[in-house]
């Protein structure tokens, strides 16, 4: 436990000392801000944060791997992984520590969007239920994307490779409905159930920001479903586990 804390704290401090976290946070706030404003600017528009949420989950496909790409790739490039792995620290402690650091950054970033809610409450009368489930969904979805990004970071000592692999995997999981549409029976059901989240509606000005498909849809509607929560937690756990295995396998090379 202490090792996890030590590693997580060190990584959080490194985030604050390096430009990448600021760039990611600024992009996130700018993009989500834009979609939020766009979704509530029409006359008679709904006082909700769905535009923000749709923008957030769509762009996390790229921003999460940008946040995690350094975490393990840099350790491999600098060779510091050798010192880490010869210290009395277990692989899973390294992985969990780094994941927590990335999650803290993501949570801070998401917390930076609370003013949307304040603005909504000031000018309108938003339904607070979907807002809370929306935020819960964003955090759960975010943790899944970070786990996938971290796994990509363990694959290579090159941060750019990690970014591309991570974003590629996340894109594949986001658009898996395209594949599912062309399948039938059980195969279709399996593939469609793997859909991380889909929010291409952010680009559709008529339905602005209605999240459809994937495990995110219910959160956006204000529904908390055990299946969806279990899905995101499972994805997070599975990819963190793969990351641990990847680190362990480095010993045998």
């Amino acid at each position: 436990m202490r090792n996890i804390q030590t590693i997580a704290w060190k990584e959080v401090k490194t985030y604050f000392a390096s430009p990448m976290a600021y760039v990611v946070a600024a992009s996130f706030l700018a993009i989500t801000g834009f979609f939020f404003v766009a979704s509530v600017s029409d006359p008679f528009s709904e006082a909700s944060i769905r535009g923000y949420i749709a923008g957030a989950i769509f762009f996390m496909v790229f921003l999460s791997p940008a946040l995690t790409m350094r975490l393990l790739a840099e350790e491999q490039k600098l060779g510091t992984l050798e010192l880490l792995m010869t210290s009395p620290v277990r692989e899973w402690e390294i992985v969990i520590g780094k994941f927590i650091a990335a999650f803290v950054m993501l949570a801070l970033m998401v917390a930076g969007t609370f003013y949307f809610v304040v603005v909504l409450s000031w000018y309108g009368d938003p339904d607070i239920g979907p807002i809370l489930t929306g935020y819960l969904g964003v955090l759960l979805y975010g943790s899944a994307t970070l786990a996938i990004g971290l796994m990509a970071s363990a694959l290579s000592s090159n941060q750019l490779v990690s970014l591309v692999v991570g974003a590629g995997l996340l894109t594949a999981l986001t658009v898996s409905n395209f594949v599912a549409d062309r399948l039938t029976g059980t195969a279709e059901e399996i593939v469609s159930n793997f859909q991380l989240g889909s929010s291409f509606s952010v680009f559709d000005t008529s339905s602005f920001g209605v999240v459809e498909g994937g495990h995110f849809a219910d959160f956006a509607r204000g529904i908390i479903s055990v299946t969806d929560i279990a899905y995101y937690i499972s994805i997070t756990a599975v990819f963190l586990f793969i990351t641990v295995v990847l680190l362990e396998s480095r010993r045998w090379r």
């Binding site: 090792n3 590693i7 490194t14 000392a17 390096s18 050798e82 010192l83 009395p88």
Partner: protein, 322 residues
Amino acid sequence: MIRLEHMSKSYGDYPAVIDVSAHIQQGEVVGFLGPNGAGKTTTMRVLTGFTPPTEGSAAIAGYDVVSHSLDARRHIGYLPESVPLYLDMTVMDYLRYMGQLRGMNRKWIDERLPVIIEIVRLGEYQNALVGKLSKGYRQRVGIAQAIIHEPDVLILDEPTIGIDPIQVVETRSLISELGGEHTLILSSHILPEISAICRRVLVIHEGRIVADDDPENLSDRLQSAERIEVSLRGTQPGEAIAAIRELRHVVDVRRDNRPVQERMAEQGVVALVVDARPEEGATEDVARTIVDSGWGLVNLHPLPMTLEEIFLQLTTEEEASA
């Protein structure tokens, strides 16, 4: 303190270390001597638990590096050859972090940090970013992180490679001081470095231990020939060679044809290489002959054997005795 039992390590089909056995007692200062690619680093990586052996076993302080890896690792301070450091941390933050990872509590770290900074003489740079330091200072930070938790076993892989000569001297004296407190393993491809610091040398060549001895015995075994470099003035090369060849212990005399000697030759300086039997007196005899003949003695010094010659000698020795 350290036990290697028939340890072999292969990377795929390539055998990096073959059937290495060694026991190292507490407090011993041991040097791994060998050319690049001999298996020194691989042996160290097995000892530090970074990579498991393919066959055989290794144990630190009684803990097997595979089955009780964490316990074994707690007893180790390690500096890899590449001196990996986080470049965007300050020296103090970095050492604090490494201390915490080695299981030190806050109080212990606070007490230990000033001591460490003093030992490795990093006082003025303690708040500098590691990335801003020169190679030599990074080396000190690397050594500092290896000793911060007062480990029983200290493993340093090529600790003087790639730093400038003055810093090499400082680093060597620093390592010598550390030898008193820790069981120390140090690797190098420089024989004088190993002889200066270590009480025991394991010569590793092509993945095997070809000699395990103290430095004095080792150099005695190696002194089956002596090579002397001589430069003189005031005579013709042929005359000088003939005169020196007459001497008792001299085996062979030839001109030194290296390009660096050509300018000297233009100034009338004759450069020779003399091979002699290792008995006492060859060097003195050569000097006396030159002086007695009325020639000018410009330079005379015994050449140390090159590492290649040492390994050639040790490996042929092994084969002969096998």
